[in-house]
Symmetry: D2
Subunit: 486 residues, 4 copies
């Protein structure tokens, strides 16, 4: 192989042996992935370091050769980190770019790195490494958000607001209850990513193009070196599987679904009509034409970005539909949606943290809203049941009392005992204590302290999981004496 | 409450206390869910049995009352199973229908059943029970399919066919490898449903409309009775959460994605061009106009149904986007997509079993195809590497040899040693043994037996999981002396 | 063909000539479409009537034969309308069912009906006829809704409310403006369906299975008979094209998108916080547990059904992706999503009409809301620009005045002239008239009357279009002396 | 307003009058759109030129002021084209960037440009201008592709291949028929974009933030200047409408759907099994591991990109669902999906042109394939019908004959007359001429010439449409003496 590196664009492709014509220039532009798969640069180098080490371990290359490959790859990593390297579209993708750049560093020996490896298992490897890293980061952001919410709840203990169904005031609740609902949602988000993990942290390396290799490789060796807990047994599956990405995108879609629900409510609550909260000025923007405006841009945008993440999920589901085994070029289209979702999740979760921490809670406005809307009607019905009506009968009685109050424009507790007893003689003086909102929420929430401890416990487990996984990855990085920053 | 049951349509709604006008007739038609949520009838009765038992346990109703409720509900269950019951649109949904029907059985006492319960937690409960049951059924179907594939592989051990990438013949593989790829995919499908399980098998009962209840209920008591491994701590979350459904739909989408890939290949392979397989006549249909046609309708339809399942996932993701807490009527739209996906998965997985079991493998055609397409080129390159070329150099040499063969219209092994040595003097007589396809696949597949044992092991675990979960559910059914069939 | 019609289930399939085995029973269940394509029964008969007439016209069958076919088909249509006919799963689809039933009516001659026709072009024909009919119905419902909105606007002329951006009060607007926005959206919905029309009202009949026929048929003859304005020139395209369905589903998705926006606002406006509108009791439902609740179920459900329609669009897009020409069984999956979307659109548009017509507008609450939120700030900035500040400078000045007002908890118009002039000396006494909301909306809406006339004009055109298309269809129905009701 | 332009990052936001705190740095990063909306730079300047001209025309600014604004904007356009300008994230979006940059050019007068305008109508305007331009480009690419296909058909007139249904050989067809099917699909794609046009080429300018303005502007004046054929009458609609984008994305999805079908077939046809076509080397790529591989990467990637475009459609549909009027920040998320789809369509359509033009058709392989698969069976059945069997009876007879041939491994035409007559005595010597494939396709395609002329006619109309629209846009560009390149 006659390799001078003066002008890559004039060099033949690394696979061009059987071709009689160069690639059409717009094909290069159309099919090259280096524009976006450069995101995988550290994963690619890491994978190559492990692969070279395995080649030596199995006697496929010599120790000296491995040393030069290791050194060359690390040199390259440093130059890339220093911004000294430019990738080339003519080299198609990150794998070919790295190999070509390596050959500049260490000469023709670079050509040995691709022994017993194909771009098909290589790119699968990179994607597994990339997603593994980002799951850790995203789980950590989720935990941080759970912590922020726990503090928010703690800070506003005792604040009562209307709970809504159908966006109609329904029953009084503690703000704490509301906040806990989102902690519980985020907990499921954490769990889903933890469920995703074993299918992400599995090594496809060694599967070759689809059918393995005639070289006496050791797939478990690279898997161990790279901190994988498992390998893909089946080689066709290893190169064609993108389940782990779809799963992640689905989990990400549910995260954004939760964020969209929270955002919707923050938008509602910060409207002049609700006025339950105020955003810190630092998290709002103004209008170019209306001087009085203070807009909740961040949460609106987060809500909008739900579409982006759903879209990415469907994009990948679509491209995988009906694809025959094993590798097809269509699979290249898995990258941009994944990278975009990772970025969207990271940015969104990151910004919600200070945004929620700086939220002003207008507890007076919340409490005032509780007074209107007959939020104690259910408690009254339950009182009547305790006095021996069936629930259905009690429901009907209270329904009629509410209708009267609406007409009179008063609260239930403003009806006199006589008025109340027109509807049923079961009502006695003790009814008024039952109608006090503070009594209702307190009766409904006997286990709030237990719930809180439950979340604290979960958070501890989550934190522990993160710590373990981070150690695993750090150990790998250290093993290869690399100094990557994400 | 004055309840005569002669004509339900003239009866007031159970919630009509505060309303001054009856519902518009087309509203009833538009909002009633009984047309489809009747699917939940056994779940609804089961949930009510447990709820009534808890009400007694907590002293909210008397033992005698509970006995009558239990008896009435079981009577109703029998009548429904016997097809003696007609549901009414005027009663909106399955919950109201059951309550009204129960009042026919046991009179006004039926009105006590809704004590300390709302339709919001009730419907969530039904959905959890429904999905729990169906996950077991679907996992079992997946396992059956894995078994069928294992047998198929066993039966055709040694059969060699071209492995494809880019739908171009790439390298020779065993049919076994191909079949194992799908076993591995189905294994992940099983795992995803197992991961879904703890979030499905969690009780929302007792959350009330959104805020719990002032009654001294015991949520763990009903959860235990119903075989739930956990409860929703947070009441707002309990009634508004549909994550468990989205998760299932995502897992179902991936199942169909696998089915679509398999179907695509079965369609290709049964074409006259490939001719790798033949479907049993029992799994094909003919043409109304072309007498010679034998069409692979079943697998085509399965491939098409992928769209249906993806669509259901997107439908539910869309409806949940931006919904404020807690319950909103939009959530009613979660049912039809879920029911449809469950049905689609069950039918599709069920039919693939006999379809695959009766497949004819045309191993001669497969072997013939291996001969064309230079599938031993990679092995040749690897041979050259072993002779000390870099892989890149070897790749280039073999690429040129292939180009020559294409021109000469011959195989690599048909080149004479002299011809070969024109490209590189590293080639010696031993090259011809390297080029034999049987040798290649054997060299690439040293661990096939281990892989097989691995799947057998997984299948045993899967089977064990199923057995446990089925016992759990059977125990619940037996506890209440019910005789449901699915 | 030995045809006794005693028991269809024992009869061989109409295409079974070359098959040596009957269909597997679960295949029948899986692949049969009669469960849902019975929806096409009238379209199928209509198409057959035209096809038979053409066969006679071209001398392919005799006049007497055609007469008997016509008579038999019409008899069948009557029996079906009378509910006297039961379809059979064993006969797979509506086409085979009709043919078999026809053979009961008129004997073996029924077998001639399928001359020069395939189920592939037949089902395409049915779908074109079905969608054509439903587009007319849906456009008419859209126009009705536009009319209702026009009347609503007329009735509440002069009502002023806050216009919102970012759900923050922004500038005062007339309710009329708001209502007109939705008329404009619905107008585009009408236009999109009108654009869809020429691609729907095009005849695929005569394309056969994919390649036409050796019979000397006249495709334009059937097209004319059936009121088609065009034919598919290309036969492969005719049987494989589903663009017209995707287009419709996309148009339907945008309709539901508009409905979801309107629903969202009606939900917001009917909340206790906004209190801008009240729904008629006939369009709300209550809670099973909370006696005071009045829930906007209809609009919530409509909003939720957006997901259903989006899902259907995605479902069909997915199934069509990557399908080779010409007909594939996957295409059968186009039906249920289409039928469901048609039903959803018809029901939803239908119910919005009385719902909007009976809406109570709380104009006092709207007007009150205008007073808070500094909605006249933009007008003040524009005043300053007229006094020669740049808009940017004016924006900044007014921004600072608003900040002061927020601190003082007063309106802009409550600042004294002195206070105002602290910010800029350009402000003079005339500023107070500028700040009056009624003056602002009147200045901003000089062309409201023209806008109204514009919509009235469009509505007239829409109505005319509907009338023409209905005549076209009625003429076809009459030509064949059929009495279908939809 | 104290404006020094040394360091934009320290400058206050243009809307910061009422804010007491600067924006949080990560908010800036999260909400700024300049990273992608810079794509709209020429549209933004063009809109501003027209707006300034209108302000003068209506007496809102002076002639001298307008001249300076015009000159400043054109200067800026030149600098941007020359690459001399850097946009700043701190300036959020393209609108604010341009305004700030303009103030560097011409000082505080730049602040007058935003008179009677909001970013809400400004960004809507930019999107309309952007999409208008790109629709023209895409329609032109579609027409080019239609032309290439017409030439391909012309070149291979007479080539016969099997037509497929269910991927089974069905009936013989001309390659021309197949190619025409795609011309017809592309024609509908052209039509859909033409239908989209009037809703794209409509001016929102003058709608302000949502409610118009108190300035005496002339909305038709800017619309005329900018070549718009219409304006948005309703101001709320003007700023909140994104229908025109969804429509385009839906049309784009159908384009990609067609491309995916074509790609699928090209992939199939270039497989070793079909071998119907060969791609030019310039449009294939090789394998990094398998030296013999020649992969149809371009068409695979195109098929994969279908997912990307579908995803973008659903992304925008999702974000619009349930958004209240008028502008919400969520709408910012409409840009990236649109830009990405435009780019994908342009690149894909562009590359298909040379790819199809350089395709090698292996007509021998096609003709050979026609011989197997009993493709003349339908013609035989039709022959029997002409001899007076019902089609059903003929179908059954031929079915049985085919079954026999399969057993004998022969063609229908290889049966002797005696053998044939065992099935029905209607068969006579003339049957053999009927069975000749050339005769069949010729009989089925009497109107192919008319079909061809039909497409040529349509292409002429398409070309004319393009010419008109291009003139319209060129006239606008020239009017403002701009020299943009796309």
């Amino acid at each position: 192989m006659n390799n001078n590196n003066v002008n890559n664009n004039l060099q033949p492709k690394l696979w061009s042996g059987r071709f009689s014509k160069p690639t059409h220039p717009s094909v290069e532009e159309y099919t090259a992935s280096i524009r976006f798969d450069r995101e995988l640069v550290y994963e690619d180098i890491l994978g190559s370091l492990a692969h070279a080490a395995m080649l030596e371990h199995c006697g496929i290359i010599g120790a000296e050769e491995n040393n030069r490959l290791q050194h060359g790859l690390k040199q390259l990593a440093k130059k890339i980190a220093a911004g000294e390297i430019e990738f080339k579209t003519a080299d198609e993708d990150i794998h070919m770019n790295i190999e070509r750049l390596l050959s500049v560093e260490i000469g023709d020996l670079a050509g040995k790195l691709h022994t017993a490896r194909s771009r098909n298992d290589q790119v699968a490897l990179d994607m597994h490494l990339y997603l593994r890293k980002n799951i850790i980061i995203i789980v950590e952001l989720l935990i941080t958000l759970q912590n922020t919410l726990l503090q928010l709840a703690e800070k506003h203990k005792g604040v009562i607001l209307p709970g809504y169904t159908h966006l109609q005031r329904a029953q009084p609740i503690y703000l704490v209850q509301y906040v806990y609902a989102y902690i519980a949602m985020l907990q499921r988000d954490v769990e889903r990513l933890q469920d995703n993990w074993p299918r992400v942290n599995r090594s496809p390396l060694g599967a070759g193009a689809l059918a393995g290799t005639t070289f006496p490789i050791d797939r478990n060796y690279t898997a161990d070196l790279l901190g994988f807990e498992n390998i893909y047994f089946n080689t066709l599956d290893a190169v064609s599987d993108r389940d782990f990405i779809v799963e992640f995108l689905a989990a990400g879609s549910i995260i954004m679904l939760h964020i969209s629900r929270l955002s919707e409510e923050l938008i509602l609550w910060s409207s002049q009509e609700f006025n339950f909260i105020s955003f810190d000025d630092a998290f709002c923007t103004g209008s170019s034409i209306m001087p009085q405006k203070k807009n909740p841009d961040v949460v609106e945008l987060a809500r909008g970005k739900t579409g982006r993440v759903y879209g990415a999920l469907f994009s990948v589901l679509t491209l995988l539909k009906g694809l025959p085994l094993a590798y097809n070029k269509d699979l290249q289209e898995d990258k941009e949606p994944l990278f975009d979702v990772v970025k969207t999740l990271r940015q969104t979760l990151e910004i919600f943290n200070p945004l929620l921490a700086t939220l002003t809670i207008n507890s007076d406005a919340m409490r005032l809203a509780v007074n209107k809307g007959y939020l104690n009607a259910t408690a009254l019905a339950e009182y009547l049941v305790k006095k021996s009506l069936t629930f259905r009968a009690a429901h009907e009685v209270v329904g009629k009392m509410v209708a009267r109050c609406i007409q009179k424009q008063c609260c239930l507790e403003e009806l006199s005992l006589e008025e109340m007893r027109e509807y049923t003689s079961f009502i006695t003086e003790d009814v008024y204590s039952i109608l006090i909102v503070e009594n209702i929420v307190s009766a409904c929430n006997k286990n709030l302290q237990i719930e809180c401890m439950h979340y604290q416990q979960q958070l501890k487990f989550n934190q522990q999981w993160i710590t373990e996984k981070k150690q695993l990855i750090t150990a790998v990085i250290n093993k290869f004496e690399l100094a990557f920053n994400d």
